[in-house]
């Protein structure tokens, strides 16, 4: 009989504890999680990149819905626990769910500290703690305006940088004389302030907030308008973010009679005063200490998991932690204790021109503190010396120059890493040492950063040790490791497709000239390779905002027909699901006669191709097709082409579903959408598969119980059978999943990369997770697709038949008549 484990809170610490528990004792517990936030476990450290736009929420999810399902975990999202009944061994959530437990983990985390000044509860005053805060800030930033961040610590500076990146005018108020005074000494704090100011963020130190001033309530609900400092100075503000610290959330535990001081008191085995109740994360207190950085929280998670699995050995011992700031372009590192004292000596290196500052604090020939600014590559090496208490007397003279000098070797960039012992910690977030990484590279023949991340988690959280992990790869693999394996888009840039896509979003680039300026294109106006790609990326990223650039489109997409070898064009009207009618066929026949179109052919996608149309005739041909109710079949587009169907239950004695109807529904829903490369679909009414759906980009096979959705097939230069994405029961679900799939492809695919190549690159499982298993993401992707369709479903033929782009279809001048006149 399994025991029942209930977890209160679904942050990073309990997430890691469960991961560990399922690793060592997968069948020991039935697990139920109550999460006050309405979502899955995500990487809270990475909220700052979400705020600055460098990452999306999807990027920072640690455990998607599928992870919980696979482990049989019941996850209540949006269920705040309001009572622990220790006598009955139950917990009760706000919506009224009651769960009983044999063992309980309390991981309620912490609350942001709010300055108790007048006006702290005005609208427009936020804290910086979870995704809801980030969303609130992004919403506020949308209208621009002025933001004041109170608190110049780690979180406050990251929030300030993010808001600045979102286009706000930002001021940071800090109570102390220098920024991040708990992690940095005065000199480094000053350098940091200069770097922050260089980004256009104003910094006011020694700023004591007196009150927040609200708008006149006679003009509607009062909003924050300004921050008033001690002394009367007012700083105008449309948004105020308080990032002045956190305090453990202990109210729930306290009410249940569990011993608490500042935090919930636990022993080194993570047990509270009630032996069946564990606590871990930011809500706990051990030996008078509370914790906010992720590394010790993960250690706690490991200890708690071991005890739950029956191993009474492991104990949590707080150790020194290192800090890094996650603001792009600012490098700083600090660890240990660096206050001045009589029995301490220091070694300082400054290079003003390069903005480098390094300070080592020594006591009894041991390193006890490190502060580095501007150049932090040796951080891990120093941190290792510090944690181990290594006697540094023999290398003291050159210590500050780092491991490459200490080893006496040349300035090889990998020397610093080579000098590290196997037990040196590389990834602080996930507690991964060098030996574990080198071991994994050997054991599993890893060759890339992503391989190492997948196998060891090193650099998979905040990413600040990415450089070190890459150096280890380089060290192990030599020339076989090529970190710059990113292929540039073309000769106009050194950036790869994925970088460009990311930067378009992060820097809100909304036109080709703006993009080329911001990303330092090497040519004045790009080339025939990059311009169509950029046009697509901008169009798919900013639906409704970006103005399509016809001159950056290949001729077929520019004039909405397919150029042929002799300079004439072919015209393919849409035939929804391959269905046509006497009326349509009669109109087509008349058009062929009227314009003397030389060839008429049935295509592989179940429609009719009119070949050899003169360019100047195109608008008139389209006008006649429109009159008969036909629109462009987009046979020229990097977009939705055809949805091929069989006759299904309409006629076929084997048909299991209305495959024709479903195909038409899909085509009517998806026509007009632009994609990285062409998309062809098929719907077969039974597994006999007459519509050949299993070699399409997306294919549906109808079965008695519903619909099997397939994707990533190919029948071109490569021939490939589709992969099964999954089974759904209803047509509505088919539509939602396919829209989500195509939208994910639109967002991740590289220009001209067909679905099967994209799927191979990012992985079938990851796609399935996004578009099928995780209902929240699936819905969000679907909704983004629907939004973009609002701007895409306009028949380009009708527009041109009515005169748009008329210059495309007429010569500039006709001098044949001029000569005749002469």
């Amino acid at each position: 009989m399994k025991q029942k484990l209930v977890v209160i809170g679904n942050g990073m610490a309990p997430g890691r504890a469960l991961e560990k528990l399922f690793e060592i004792a997968p069948d020991a517990y039935d697990v139920t999680i109550f999460n006050a936030e309405p979502r899955v476990n995500y990487d809270r450290i990475m909220l700052s990149p979400v705020l600055s736009g460098e990452k999306t929420f999807e990027d920072i999810v640690i455990h998607g819905d599928g992870w919980y399902v696979e482990r049989g975990i019941t996850l209540y999202k949006g269920h705040k626990i309001v009572e622990i009944d220790r006598a009955a061994k139950t917990v009760r959530s706000e919506p009224g769910e009651v769960a009983s437990y044999d063992k309980l983990i309390i991981a309620t985390g912490s609350m942001p500290f709010v300055l108790p000044v007048p006006g702290h509860d005005l609208a427009g005053v936020l804290t910086y703690r979870d995704l809801d805060d980030v969303h609130a800030m992004l919403l506020a930033a949308r209208t621009g305006g002025r933001a004041v961040v109170i608190g110049g610590g780690l979180l406050g500076l990251e929030a300030a940088a993010g808001l600045k990146e979102q286009g706000m005018d930002v001021t940071v108020l800090h109570l102390m004389p220098t920024l991040m005074e708990r992690q940095l000494d005065v000199a480094a704090g000053h350098l940091l302030q200069k770097a922050v100011e260089a980004r256009g963020i104003k910094v006011i130190t020694k700023a004591n907030t007196k009150q927040l001033v609200g708008s006149d309530i006679r003009l509607g609900p009062s909003r924050v308008m300004a921050v008033e400092l001690e002394g009367g100075t007012q700083i105008p503000a449309d948004l105020v973010v308080m990032a002045i610290g956190i305090r453990p959330s202990v109210a729930l535990a306290k009410e249940a009679g569990i011993a608490c001081k500042r935090g919930i008191l636990v022993d080194a085995d993570m047990r509270t005063s009630d032996p069946d109740i564990f606590a871990l994360g930011e809500c706990v207190e051990i030996d008078g200490q509370v914790f906010g950085l992720v590394a010790p929280l993960y250690e706690m998670a490991g200890v708690a998991a071991s005890h739950l699995a029956g191993d009474a050995e492991p104990r949590f011992v707080p150790s020194a932690t290192a800090t890094k700031l996650k603001v792009t372009g600012i490098n700083l590192f600090s660890a240990g204790d660096f206050a001045d004292a009589k029995d301490r000596q220091e070694i300082v290196l400054r290079d003003a021109a390069r903005g480098v500052y390094k300070r080592l604090v020594l006591k009894d020939d041991r390193l006890i503190g490190v502060v580095m600014y501007g150049e932090t590559a040796d951080g891990a090496w120093f941190f290792d010396l510090l944690r181990k208490g290594t006697d540094i007397a023999p290398m003291r003279d050159t210590l500050i120059f780092g491991p490459s000098f200490a080893a006496g070797g040349p300035a090889d960039p990998t020397a610093a890493v080579a000098a590290l012992p196997d037990e040196a910690e590389i990834c602080g977030c996930n507690g991964v040492c060098k030996g574990k990484i080198t071991g994994a590279i050997d054991a599993f023949s890893l060759t890339s950063l992503d391989d190492v991340r997948a196998r060891t988690k090193a650099s998979a959280s905040c990413g600040s040790c990415t450089g070190l992990v890459e150096q280890i790869l380089k060290l192990k693999l030599g020339d076989r490791y090529n970190p710059t394996a990113v292929q540039p888009m073309c000769g106009c840039t050194h950036l790869g497709h994925d970088d460009v896509r990311r930067l378009i979003v992060a820097q809100e680039l909304k036109s080709i000239p703006a993009l080329m300026q911001a990303l330092e294109w090497k040519t004045s106006c790009g080339c025939a390779r990059c311009r169509p790609a950029l046009n697509y990326y901008l169009l798919s990223t900013w639906p409704g905002e970006y103005q399509d650039d016809g001159q950056s489109r290949f001729i077929n997409e520019r004039v909405h027909a397919n150029i042929q070898k002799d300079g004439t064009y072919s015209v393919v009207p849409r035939m929804w699901g391959g269905m046509t009618s006497a009326k349509e066929l009669r109109a087509i026949a008349d058009i062929v006669d009227k314009f003397a179109i030389p060839s008429v052919k049935v295509t592989g996608g179940q429609r009719i191709d009119l070949l050899g149309v003169r360019k100047e005739d195109l608008p008139a041909v389209w006008s006649d097709l429109n009159d008969a109710g036909m629109v462009s079949g987009a046979a020229y587009a990097k977009g939705l082409r055809t949805v091929k169907t069989c006759v299904g239950t309409d006629w076929c004695r084997f048909g299991t579903q209305d495959s024709t109807g479903l195909g038409i529904r899909i085509e009517r829903f998806m026509w007009g959408s632009w994609t990285p490369a062409k998309v062809k679909m098929g719907v077969s009414g039974c597994p006999r598969n007459c519509a050949e759906a299993t070699c399409k980009d997306v294919g549906v096979i109808c079965v008695e119980s519903g619909y099997d959705i397939h994707f990533a097939g190919a029948a071109g230069p490569d021939v490939k059978q589709t992969e099964l994405l999954g089974h759904v029961d209803t047509e509505d679900e088919v539509i939602e999943v396919i829209a989500a799939l195509v939208q994910l492809y639109r967002e991740q695919g590289r220009y001209l990369e067909r679905i099967y190549k994209w799927a191979k690159r990012v992985g079938i499982d990851s796609i399935r997770q996004h578009v099928l298993d995780d209902l929240e993401r699936r819905r969000a992707l679907h909704d983004r697709f629907v939004f973009s369709q609002k701007f895409a479903q306009i028949d380009p033929w009708a527009e041109r038949a009515q005169g748009k782009d008329a210059h495309e279809f007429r010569p500039l001048a006709d001098l044949t008549r001029a000569e005749a006149a002469e």
Partner: protein, 114 residues
């Protein structure tokens, strides 16, 4: 004939051609492609790629080059020469812009060898 000597023929307004685009001019001896570069320079070339006669006027214009829509040959708008490892050349014609009007060298136009 004397009227045409040293003459420039007005073939249209600069704004009739989209920037980084091209238009066709029909002549008795075949079509010309008239290009407008990013900086409003104009160029006139035979509208036939030296490779397989692709209509250069339908290509993507970038810098002072155009990429042929049929097989992606890149042709210099100044010299008419194929770029990179491809070999071939298209004929170019004298052309200029005056007060927003595009003028083409009539002598060259009607003295076409063929």
């Amino acid at each position: 004939m004397t009227l045409m000597e040293k003459a420039w023929i007005d073939i249209g307004a600069l704004d009739d051609i989209p920037r980084l685009g091209a238009r066709v001019v029909k002549t008795p001896l075949g079509c010309l492609a008239v290009f407008r570069a990013e900086n409003d320079e104009v160029f006139a070339l035979d509208d036939r790629c030296p490779h397989k006669n692709g209509p250069l006027s339908q290509g993507i214009v970038h810098g002072r080059t155009v990429t042929c829509p049929l097989h992606n040959w890149v042709i210099s708008l100044e010299s008419g020469k194929a770029q990179g490892s491809d070999e071939g050349q298209v004929r170019t014609f004298g052309i200029r812009v005056d007060s927003g009007r595009i003028l083409i060298d009539a002598d060259a136009l009607f003295a076409r060898p063929d």
